[in-house]
Symmetry: C2
Subunit: 155 residues, 2 copies
């Protein structure tokens, strides 16, 4: 279980037309413990460099590195607790260019933020698509993850 | 914890030059239980339609749907247990076009497979990049997830 430190979501749930290109904001921060890194990897990505410090140090990752799917799931949790908790979220159907730019190591503290790139209504009339870019940085200001997703938000 | 039913990985670990464009194979199958769907969503994606059957039925997902990150993590687990367990895996830095084509619902049984699209050596000399397409289908033969990833495989 992550222990995110997320900003409070707004009380009212936003519809898609309240989103504007260029809107940006923080999604919160989270620190990765060794136990969480091992637990996620054991369940979902049991490669040696995610399970064991010595194997991680001997690998190109140069340390005990979290699974990239762990980092992405942490971003999802922060997003769900903030932007989506305050919006009429209907999920997402598409992530483009999920990049694990640098290894995320045990003890790293990650901060996530978002930027809205494009907003367009769906032909269904009851929802819209919010194309959003995401960035996660570590405690040294180094970008570790980037991705773009199509958020589906109700009217 | 998933309960994958993965083919046995080969004994020897393959280097990247053993991969050829067009190579394809199964990665195994896995069934999603309600408890697993709720546990993953509670930890990583606590949106109502992932947590609760009634909320899922009332949503555009039309059922108690797994988080898309849960489905992707299941694919990662199957991949780690099979193709990567039998290769000199160094991880991955890039996923393109992760598409949740159709909802994955509690009780679905998913089968995953891969197709190698392109293989190229790294300029570092000790590894190569295996561009691989992945597909997950449900028990009705409906594609529920597609993605392309760059696998980094040692020489």
């Amino acid at each position: 279980m992550p222990t995110p430190d997320s900003p409070e979501p707004p009380m009212a749930r936003r519809g898609f037309s309240t989103f504007q290109p260029g809107e940006t904001g923080p999604l919160g921060t989270v620190e990765l413990t060794r136990d969480e890194v091992v637990a996620f990897a054991s369940a979902w990505d049991p490669q040696p460099f995610h399970l064991d410090e010595a194997a991680g140090l001997a690998s190109p990752l140069k340390g005990h590195a979290a699974s990239g799917w762990h980092t992405a799931s942490l971003l999802m949790r922060l997003l769900a607790d903030t932007l989506l908790a305050g919006a009429r979220s209907m999920g997402s159907g598409h992530v483009r260019d999920l990049r694990w730019v640098k290894p995320v190591l045990v003890g790293d503290r990650l901060a996530a933020r978002y930027v809205v790139r494009e907003v367009r209504p769906s032909s269904r009339g009851d929802r819209g698509y919010v194309e959003t870019d995401f960035v996660m940085e570590n405690q040294n200001g180094v970008t570790v993850l980037t991705m773009s997703a199509t958020l589906i938000i109700g009217s």
